[in-house]
């Protein structure tokens, strides 16, 4: 797992523990069953991750989780970065870590 991926996966785990305790294992099982992948899919393909979360939790909850994940990493991305989606967040992480 590269640095950017590791940071994102940790942020997702922290966000899940904070807003949906108990649901992390359910989401991991869902990702495994539907995509045969873990939370790292969020870094590889943010859109695919978001679709999987929406199918499990609903679109509104998925959007809330997305905002909390973005918020968790806000401090690491530098001032003035206006990030509104997981796709933009991953793009920014890739830029920072040169991946």
């Amino acid at each position: 797992m590269n640095k950017g991926e590791e940071i994102l996966v940790k942020a997702i785990s922290a966000a899940l523990r904070e807003v949906a305790s108990g649901l992390e294992s359910v989401l991991e099982a869902h990702l495994k069953a539907t995509l045969n992948k873990g939370l790292e899919v969020a870094y590889e393909n943010p859109k695919e991750f978001k679709d999987a979360v929406s199918k499990l939790f609903g679109e509104y909850s998925a959007r809330l989780l997305e905002m909390v994940i973005i918020n968790k990493l806000k401090g690491r991305l530098g001032e003035g970065e206006e990030i509104s989606s997981l796709e933009e967040l991953v793009e920014q992480i890739r830029k920072i870590y040169g991946e």
Partner: protein, 228 residues
């Protein structure tokens, strides 16, 4: 009198307002909102949705994929879209692009005036609060005061309380005259959804809980030992 919990929420929201639906992730709050709006829509002259950070787009996309009459239920809506990105495609009646809580409420006040006999649905206030936490303490009281002003209004606010600190929880709790909690429990890897009536005018039901399941055309509620 024995009431279905959805009927109880509907009647409570008509009797006193605002109604806060404190939902947790995974509680399928979209379906709850669909059934509530379907029941309430015809009872009011106007239907206004105030959507923060594209929340309405998220909900309508989901509901349209599940309920074929969702476009009918949400048609002829006056849409206020705060900080739209995807939602601009819906041509909102009032787009507002700022994080400033006072400007947002000011723009809404000017555009709507004091409405009566109106159903209001405020979506995404929690999404906005995650992004701009310092504005949330200003906008919650201001918006509730503004939208509760007219006669016979019904204000529904889905809001995930769990992600916010105690001061926000206190503000929301102090303004919510009806408070319903839509939670989730995980048992053996499966999600069980649970509704608890925290505060309502039907005091005999307060603090009662039901597990619920989303069926194609209704929500099925199950108390500890019987179906309601």
């Amino acid at each position: 009198m024995k009431m279905n919990p959805l009927e109880l929420i509907t009647l409570s929201s008509k009797r006193i307002t605002p109604t806060v639906l404190n939902y947790q992730i995974g509680s399928d709050i979209e379906s709850v909102l669909y059934h509530l709006i379907k029941r309430l829509r015809g009872e009011y002259e106007e239907f206004v949705i105030i959507s923060f950070q594209d929340a309405y787009t998220s909900i309508s996309k989901y509901l349209k994929s599940i309920y074929k009459d969702a476009p009918e239920v949400f048609k002829d809506t006056y849409l206020v879209s705060v900080n739209p990105f995807l939602e601009e495609e819906l041509n909102p009646d009032l787009p507002v692009k700022t994080k400033d809580a006072e400007i947002i409420t000011g723009r809404i006040r000017v555009a709507l005036g004091t409405k009566s006999n109106t159903l209001f649905l405020v979506l995404g206030l929690d999404l906005y609060g995650v992004k701009y936490p310092e504005e949330l303490v200003i906008i919650i009281p201001a918006l509730i005061r503004l939208l509760s002003k007219g006669e016979n209004n019904n204000l529904l606010i889905p809001f995930n309380i769990k992600i916010f600190p105690e001061n926000i929880v206190e503000i929301v709790n102090s303004f919510a005259l009806n408070l319903f909690k839509f939670g989730v429990e995980v048992k053996r890897g499966e999600i069980k959804r649970k509704l608890t009536i925290i505060r309502s005018p039907f005091v005999e039901y307060n603090l009662r809980s039901w597990y619920y399941m989303i069926a194609p055309s209704k929500i099925v509620f199950l108390s500890a030992s019987m179906e309601v």
